[in-house]
Symmetry: C2
Subunit: 558 residues, 2 copies
Amino acid sequence: MAKTDHERTLIDFRTEPSKYKHWKLSVDGRVATLSMDVREDGGLRPGYELKLNSYDLGVDIELYDAVQRLRFEHPEVSAVILTSAKERIFCAGANIRMLGQSSHGWKVNFCKFTNETRNAIEEATAESRQAYLCVVNGPCAGGGYELALATDYIIMADDGNTSVALPEVPLLAVLPGTGGLTRLVDKRRVRRDRADFFCTLEEGIKGKRALDWGLVDELVPRSKLEETARRRAAEFAPRTDRPAAARGIALLPLSRTIDDDRITYSHVACTLDRERRVAEITVTGPAAPPPPALQGMRDLGCAFWPLALARELDDLILHLRTNEEGIGIWVLRTAGSADLVEAYDRLLAEHQGDWLVREIRLYLKRTLKRLDVSSRSIFALIEPGSCFAGTLLELALAADRSYMLSGARPGDSRPPATVRLAGLNFGAYPMPNGLTRLASRFLAEPGRVEKLKVLIGKDLDAASADEAGLVTFTPDDIDWEDEVRLAIEERAAFSPDALTGMEASLRFGGPETLETKIFGRLSAWQNWIFQRPNAVGPKGALGLYGTGQRSDFDRRRV
Amino acid sequence: MAKTDHERTLIDFRTEPSKYKHWKLSVDGRVATLSMDVREDGGLRPGYELKLNSYDLGVDIELYDAVQRLRFEHPEVSAVILTSAKERIFCAGANIRMLGQSSHGWKVNFCKFTNETRNAIEEATAESRQAYLCVVNGPCAGGGYELALATDYIIMADDGNTSVALPEVPLLAVLPGTGGLTRLVDKRRVRRDRADFFCTLEEGIKGKRALDWGLVDELVPRSKLEETARRRAAEFAPRTDRPAAARGIALLPLSRTIDDDRITYSHVACTLDRERRVAEITVTGPAAPPPPALQGMRDLGCAFWPLALARELDDLILHLRTNEEGIGIWVLRTAGSADLVEAYDRLLAEHQGDWLVREIRLYLKRTLKRLDVSSRSIFALIEPGSCFAGTLLELALAADRSYMLSGARPGDSRPPATVRLAGLNFGAYPMPNGLTRLASRFLAEPGRVEKLKVLIGKDLDAASADEAGLVTFTPDDIDWEDEVRLAIEERAAFSPDALTGMEASLRFGGPETLETKIFGRLSAWQNWIFQRPNAVGPKGALGLYGTGQRSDFDRRRV
């Protein structure tokens, strides 16, 4: 089918404001405005028109880029107004035709990325102290309202035209796919019976009831919308600790080469073995010590190793998820000096109050979280020459399992592999469940994480790492080859779907958060519905939307 | 297809020990033994043999019955040993042929019921102080190990034959469907990388590694199994507060008549409107005041109104879920005297220390929880003559929404409808998320629940109930007919799948528990996998199991 060919076109997540088709980003002192102005003919793939500010992945890639740049390039911005540049519409949500013509995998991956971006908006508000508020200046439906829900303050026009709605269930027989149901009852804590009513209303809710039910935070006449938004943004501004006078760091175009089955960045490289369905990913540690002072880091800008690493790994994960769905196993290796990694970690730890250091740490956190929610099996291989230390040790802790070579290889003059804990492993990079990877790992022995702190900075060989519980298996050279090869072959032979469900269940023990609820519960239900004939079958609502034909549902409850 | 016809055969959840085909229940002083001894030819439907202590719904219905009876009929029992009566096998899990030939709906409903029974085993241990321990005396795989995981102490034979395993992913391309993954990382807190390895091992893990990894609690030579089990059970026994000398309450056969589209019990009646896809359920309050003393309650036995109500409603929910999947909406009404309901509630509140009162309250709690996890839209209609008070008010609070008639109906001499809070609404009946229905309702205003206590015992008319936030809508007589009819018609027109996902997402705001993780996250993933060709397609693993043919998987990761 033609569809499949379109999907094979590589999707590139790299963009920049001068290339935006769908968003306008403007900065006025401490307040930025991000206006949605979707170009109808600007869809990522042919076959649909992006009417009424509806969006596809291309629109969301730009939003993602804008959210990133606002953090790094605009330290002075403390409030972001999210609104629509169209006259009569805020946003109609994800484009339905696009969904209707997309494969199951595309829909699921699209929802995952849009969810991650909305989570990043909330994280920007909470952690980067760059508060998002939303001005709903026209009908706001489905993914449009879910975008509003990701901001911390929703101002709605009180006119006859503007409403908020989650019409997916009545209109399309699917769920709002971007966290809407969860944010409704868990973030805004709308009463469940009202949420039930609201989510079955095609036309949505406007005016006073929207305010009374907690669907929006403020209702103002259309003529006062701009003034109110500016005032609220000005009120948010002083609550930040972002430095008004600092200079931003330009996120220069990320250089990447793709040759056949090899993807190369400065510090990250990936080789695809399509037959074995494996991506062999190697992260290279820093080549030189960090600059002695913060100014040196600022001068390096996006070439500063931790930031470059975050960007490259982030891009690779998105690339593999979207463009290489046949590659089911990601094998992670590192190469370089643990001492140098530790030196950068120390800088990130000692200057965590600096706005740029904070942004880099948050970016690394978000990137590692992408691993946690990627539907791929992740194995870490810890071998001589590697540098699984501190921040890079998180890669091994994020893996579904790890293999560490015990002892040296004959003929290899390098010392046996070691791993090294750093302070950053104990708090800098929480998972979506809010726990560090160490805490998630040792749920059975909460005190154990604290005890591990005595090992910070020490090189742990395979036996010590095993005793510390940091690695899964520690075969020696005699067993390594067969054990690792068999593990990968076996994994590749299992059903990808069963692995996805299993990994999503095992990775997140312990507490649940808005994020784990969205990626666990909500996404799983949505994935199920995306497979059901009532939504996607020939008589399903998603495919028939706009054709004038009525859906013919299987009425049995499951 | 023939399969569909089999499914139309009514499944009856009512049984008793003398009718058991698959379990042996024996009581020896304070210790009971529940032995699994599945009859190969005793399957609920034709087409499969229940080899190796594998189970189908029929086996689980007996287990459910035994767990219930142990609570009510055996107040003296403080520990239950769960084991296998077969010589060389503990339990091979759910029967795979049965799963392979079952419809999607059947599989999902089967898993829901088995999950509820395992949750009830955990609740019996924690709340009824009747502790379950498991003696694994042979290979214990899939649902077999999940059954063991539901107990609080697992003793495993240390021989060459006995292992524990969750082989669903490698063998069948599905997930363990009865809470296994969740209990592994969240209850037993097995390290996630070890859980990952374990869940991909067809052959499972035996001996010392099973103990070291926390998969079992004790490892003993086969010859010492019985003695150890008895000793551990004897150690559990003194920890209980169950009265050794009390006499149990016999759960006499539940009388029920099914005439065409009407199901009638003593206090519960249900009329099915298949065209509108609605079940109209009416719960009748008590006909007379409760007996003045506890002895009177004991003398009444299972005729005591709250216990009779719990049993009847429980049976009706199970009947509708299993036998009436085309009925998507359950409309709940009550009829009777709020004063009488309150009188029974007072008895249940004042004597909560009594073992039988505790059991009745727990049974009501479990029954109400079944409503919470039922994939049906639930509307409560509150009209003149109703008695939504205390325990019965929970029905309205469990509903997705409620409609309360404001004022009287012309020609109806009865006073306008009222609702009434009682002490039991504030703690006796927590939902699967661990919160009361009131607390779940008012997540946005935690203090509000406390404030509602001043209303206990007061009759609240529609306006007051609305102000208290207890009901969704309060139309008057002029609007009632159209508003309620349209709401039901609209609901019936939506996609059942989308409603299921929506309801599962909106009903459980706030904290997550083992139970919500199982019914939300795990079940949703399993449902998704149960729809995927890799599991259930013509080349899927579930259908090909045992045929010698290899599955042909779609290798794309979703």
